[in-house]
Symmetry: C2
Subunit: 173 residues, 2 copies
DNA sequence: AGCTCTATTATCATATATGATAATAATATG
DNA sequence: CATATTATTATCATATATGATAATAGAGCT
């Protein structure tokens, strides 16, 4: 790794490595010496447009990318297995594999209301944490007790609870 | 590698991977949905400040760096060898190893004026292309013929020739 | 159809990065 | 000492990124 880790340090290192003065680099990059001096001395808000021009003048490739901190889901369950496990909760209308994608909210509501803890875990493993929480936040057809439980959990996850209870559920007064 | 290669594509991919809407991501990142929509649709001038806020909200590490295109000098000559080779050009004042660092212009002028092609190559290999060209551009004590030659060469390299011939050289009229 | 959420785009005001310039200081060079 | 180059900083004008808002359109759901 280079000695300098911040953009400022990297810039200064590379410029001196090429033996360029601020004005000379500014001329080649089509920017100004004032900007470059700011860049090398504590500046933190850069414009990628300027960074790109500098890359060309420094004979460098500019690399900008986000690297996910959390590793990929190691074991996403098989869809058929999910359907098989949850099937018993859908006594009125048989659950199909397609439903997981087309009616996630419906599936989620049923699992939250009638499922055991392992059923919920399986659903979350299938959806992924983010989509799972988002779907939970949308679930409206829940009993007050279940709704209260997940509302509390969502708040602990820093999620706004968007549930607006429908009047069509069996639990509405 | 990710499917998307531009910043726009990477952003959209990661956001959808997390199942976030523009507004939700904007809220978490402390920016606006309008900005994010622009970011995902052809925007090219990003501010690193915003990119950093997005990195946090996307649970990513933001990577920004310049990668030199030209590989490191593979065979930088040994300093003693350079001195030994060039020694014969310095009949009046013996060349020392230290002179390469302390009086580069002096060394350079002598080599350009009296050296053979291989001597020049050796000097360039020692200095590196950039420092070599810069030193050449500063050389002032050259005969008109030599100066003219290097001036032409510097122009071909896209370099401004900064030579301002001194009145103290033997060649001045 | 009606409703909600989402995405996109336009417009405008504001914040801020950049360019131009000048002043200053430090450093080399003759 | 004189001169030139360089780096840093301040100031100001300008360019542009961003935020807020609204309008539009589309998708999904009841």
């Amino acid at each position: 790794m280079n000695p300098g880790h911040s953009i400022s340090e990297r810039l200064k290192d590379r410029r001196q490595e090429l033996g360029l003065s601020l004005s000379e680099l500014a001329r080649r990059a089509g920017t100004s010496a004032a900007t470059l001096s700011r860049y090398e001395n504590g500046w933190t808000r850069f414009e990628t447009y300027t960074l790109r021009k500098l890359a060309a003048a420094l004979d460098c490739e500019l690399l900008i990318e986000w690297r996910p901190r959390t590793p990929r889901r190691s074991a996403k369950p098989v869809r058929a297995a999910v359907v098989q496990r949850l099937a018993r909760l859908f006594w009125d209308h048989p659950l199909t594999a397609k439903d997981l994608a087309t009616h996630p909210t419906w599936v989620c509501e049923r699992v939250l209301e009638y499922g055991a803890l392992d059923d919920v875990r399986e659903l979350q493993a299938w959806f992924g944490k983010e989509e799972f929480l988002r779907t939970v936040a949308q679930a409206a057809r829940l009993s007050p007790r279940t709704a209260g439980f997940w509302k509390t959990l969502l708040e602990r996850e820093g999620r706004a609870c968007t549930k607006k209870f429908s009047r069509n559920t069996a639990w509405n007064y």
